[in-house]
Amino acid sequence: MIDVRRTVDAVWKLESAAIIGGLTRIVRDVGLAEELAQDALVAALEQWPESGLPDNPGAWLTTTAKRRAIDHLRRAARLERRHEDLARELDQPQDVEHEDVLRLMFLSCHPVLPTPQRVSLTLRLVGGLTAAEIARAFLTSEPVITQRVAAAKEALAREGVPFELPVGESLAGRLSSVLEVVYLIFNEGYAATSGDDLMRPGLCQEALRLGRLLAELAPDEAEVHGLVALMEIQAARSAARTGPSGEPVRLHEQNRGRWDPLLIRRGFTAMLRARDIGGPPGPYVLQAAIAVCHTQARTAEDTDWAQIATLYDALVRLLPTPIVRLNRAVAVGEAHGPEAGLALVDELTTDRTLRDYHLLPSVRGDLLARLGRQAEARVEFGRAAAMTKNAAERAFLLRRAGELETDTSVVTLAQAATDFLARGDLDTATLRSYGQTLRRLRLSLGDRRPLESLTAQDVTRVFELSWSDAAAKTWNRHRSAIRTFTAWGSLADLAAGLPRRAETRQRIPAIGTEHLERLWNLGAPVREQTLWRLLHESAAQVRVVLSLDVEDLDLEDRRARASGTWVSWRSATARLLPELLAGRTRGPLFLADRRPGPARMPATEDLCPDTGRSRLSYERAEYLFKQATRALDPAGRGYTLRQLRPS
């Protein structure tokens, strides 16, 4: 009944942090440490089925891994310490092991790593999860996680990040980086940002475990206990926060009898530990205090909102993020009435970071509904539903919108936009362009927004949020869409607050001489070399050059007649052309690599009558050029063919 493979896996998950931590201290390279630990794991998988489970599987793995590390050091002849010292490594007291795990957490959450790498590396090294398990939890693919973990290990080695406990001034920053990673893992599980389930409990548990571990390893840090308290209390509510069909249940509607008293008690205990340490409360302690306040209320009506609003006032000073400000608005709305809450929410409607955040319209809708402004509330819930990526949440928001009564005779923004785009006299490009403008307008203002109530101010706000830093051309394109829409609907001038922007034609600079030299020496295929040289020497338009046929060429005079103009070149092109032509006497000069498929057969003039291949397209030529020049371009994007013109 005991499956050895699964037992090995279970033992590994319990011990991996201590094993990898211990090995990293010995070999000073977390990547190598993990490899050695994996070797021990493989050895276990090979030997245990034969020999049976060892007496103490955890200790077996640890010892085997450490032996391998010592062997490795001996082989690498990097033996700075005496053999006896190394032998002693095999028998480390527990507190050293604890420190190793703590060091490992600081290492895997090191600020030199981008956040997704920190998260993956921490779950891998400290949580003992496989890449496949992490990928499943984050709804991504295994290679993505494997690559992240590898990149993280490489970056740590490259930056020479030491395996140590931060002290003094650096401690606070490093610790907050660790806490951030743990809370991020928790939140990814608690408020699944995408997918069909509202929660992925595995991640919550993983985070709780990391947090509890951290609390034992760094018991003197109030914020650590604050984070643990926060997570325990939030986890306590998890069963109550989804309804029978997976829909979210809001805090004040939750059945408090379904909150897990054990986790609540653990949360309170962690909170007391944080309080005992003292000092000014940090962001996690404050958030935990808020969670405690909610939990202490026997019913939703008993909630001490005034106290919660005060705690948010303190939190917003430490952590003035839009999300915290939004939550504060909710608390103020409860403590001092929806009017006061709405005033705070309205301050946030111009915040770009919340542009697509569904909870903003959702909270706003809630406050508006309480103020009796049903129609506006309905619009907001509709917007929130359109923004969320979570299916359960979307259904919930649509239901809330549906519960509010509205006058159906009113023409809504969605209806008007659909009619406008369906009027039939717009060409495809215009239709697509207008569609983009109106889609953004609908998302920002709400599908159910009555058309009559739209003001120039609303539209201006949407433009500022969406396109204030776009190119003048883009801005003007959206502006003209609004103007046409306004004229079509005989509306008040919605574009009144949108000045036309001057379109200064920004010429992208030509490629510099030095880069050109490197380009010529890239060793590109002859077709590319000829095209690039020809573009550079002739200064002709890319389209014109690609439209050249072999018959047009006058090799003697180094020129060709195309589209009513002359394209002429100099020696470099002249040297390359014979090789490109390779005896061809007719058809397109620049040919695609393959013959076209039957479904996308081009016109005869774009086909080579001899080889059956079609003319090289602008898109393909541009793509190849970008790819080839990516390494040359200081911006890393690659150049465009147009930039080949002589400077």
């Binding site: 005991i2 499956d3 699964r6 037992t7 896996d9 279970a10 033992v11 998950k13 319990l14 103490n56 599987p57 955890g58 527990q94 604890h98 595995g202 548990q205 709780l208 475990r209 990391l210 947090g211 509890r212 571990l213 034992e216 390893l217 069963a239 379904r258 897990d260 008293p261 054990l262 986790l263 653990r266």
Partner: protein, 107 residues
């Protein structure tokens, strides 16, 4: 997932050494974030039985004391194998005897 491990009473009386080892083991499991709650149980106990409308309350101790549960541990783990591994470690500390692990549903 949560598992409840219950351990049956034995004849042997725990000595200082066992207390120390148990203390250490509990600390370790708590530190690892695995052990949620644990405790020993009074062997006396009170039995409450219902039959129809009748509720009978009987004070212990009971004759079949060896079958009684003497202690419990509630652990939060990622798999059944992890729970078994923890129980195995626990049994190594306490010596001869018997424990049961059962998955806990809810709350």
């Amino acid at each position: 997932m949560r598992y409840l491990m219950t351990t049956k009473a034995t004849d042997q009386t725990p000595d200082e050494k066992l207390y120390a080892e148990m203390g250490k083991f509990i600390e370790e499991m708590t530190a690892a974030g695995v052990l949620l709650a644990t405790g020993g149980l009074d062997p006396k106990g009170i039995r409450i039985a219902s039959a129809g409308d009748e509720i009978t309350v009987t004070d212990g101790p009971f004759t079949e004391a060896k079958e009684a549960v003497a202690g419990f541990a509630l652990v939060e783990v990622r798999s059944e194998e992890e729970a078994i591994e923890l129980a195995r470690r626990f049994r190594k500390v306490v010596g001869d005897g018997e424990s049961t692990i059962q998955q806990v549903f809810g709350p």
